[in-house]
Symmetry: C2
Subunit: 208 residues, 2 copies
């Protein structure tokens, strides 16, 4: 390929299918590992050139993350040991969707189970993809306000501490390398942009 | 657990090992799936309560991402079809570490191979963990300046478009749901904070 300067825009093409030259098409698909929590698939795909290749990836049910804002403006946070990275991580509350469960129902359930908080108002900020190279996972980002504290109900074998922190404390923790969980950093960026008025949220009232 | 209000600080404990009550200890570890690109392990662990549980996770060699800044301030971006999520994604250049490869060497190689750009100055911003629930992956975040364009050298079977975009265009794309790749959003947050003067970078000159 010649060393031409890149075009200007995110998607400047008038082509109705500008990604056709990048897309891969499924030829076959099989489950190559079925674990207790994770399943892995391997698909044979047709590349844009017409050649074939294999793609391995984890099948994930999807998840939600909750940016829960206390009346004093602090955020409800968790500390949890994450075995794959052998570290205790600072995170926003989050969890996987149960079968057939909607995003808001999952957000409400995970916030209550893990932290004991229930919220009066909810807003769906958007979605994010944490592992586009090897997992199907998509995480919905929810904001919660009007919090009241109840008893929490952790799953069997789940251990986590709940604490509160300001946006500034959490941003400083990112800068200093103490907070490295990507979903939580993305949640902080949404929080900052929303508080600045740049990224609006549409709130819905619980039970309304 | 009683519904006590959470403590104030990210880590307020004077305990020399405040995470001991959260930590899990490896009892056994085995590779349960060895694919062409991914390996999965399943470990038996001892929980904080003394009970045992299993943990399944993908073993990943680590990766780098490059926030490459053009002389006009725009960023070098990629569009790439990501099969697991069945979408073309907007991303900062990134790639996996080769065996024994350091972060800067990998950043330099991936930027050049995928986009054709070489940089005069590099700065390591930090690391992030994209998949703390089920992969060991850690991504180093590098910034690059003083770019010059050469020929790119894509890997066999790698297809991607290179384009340039402003920070504002990319932030708008996050807000509008067009840019959902977490590593790229984290890179944008670092870029914003660095340009505001809040998160400083230490630059090193290539070849110096």
């Amino acid at each position: 390929m010649s060393a031409t300067p890149p075009p200007t825009h995110i998607d400047a093409s008038p082509d109705p299918d500008p990604d056709a030259h990048l897309r891969e098409h499924t030829l076959t698909s099989q489950t190559v590992y079925q674990g207790n929590f994770l399943a892995m698939r391997r698909d044979e795909v047709r590349l844009p050139t017409g050649q074939t290749a294999s793609r391995e990836y984890v099948v994930h049910p999807g998840a939600v993350m909750v940016v829960a804002i206390l009346p004093d403006g602090r955020l409800v946070m968790e500390r949890q040991y994450r075995y794959p990275v052998r570290q205790t991580m600072i995170e926003f509350p989050a969890g996987k969707l149960d079968a057939g469960e909607g995003g808001l129902a999952c957000a409400r359930r995970e916030l209550w189970e893990e932290t004991g908080y229930k919220a009066e108002r909810w807003a769906r900020a958007g979605v994010m993809h944490p592992v586009i190279g090897y997992a199907t996972e998509v995480i919905e980002i929810w904001f919660a306000e009007g919090l009241s504290l109840h008893e929490r109900h952790l799953d069997e074998g789940e251990f986590l501490d709940v604490f509160a922190a300001t946006q500034q404390e959490l941003e400083d923790a990112v800068r200093d390398g103490q907070l490295t969980d990507v979903k939580t950093i993305v949640g902080l960026m949404w929080l900052q942009k929303w508080r600045e008025g740049a990224w609006p949220l549409t709130w819905q009232t619980e039970g309304a």
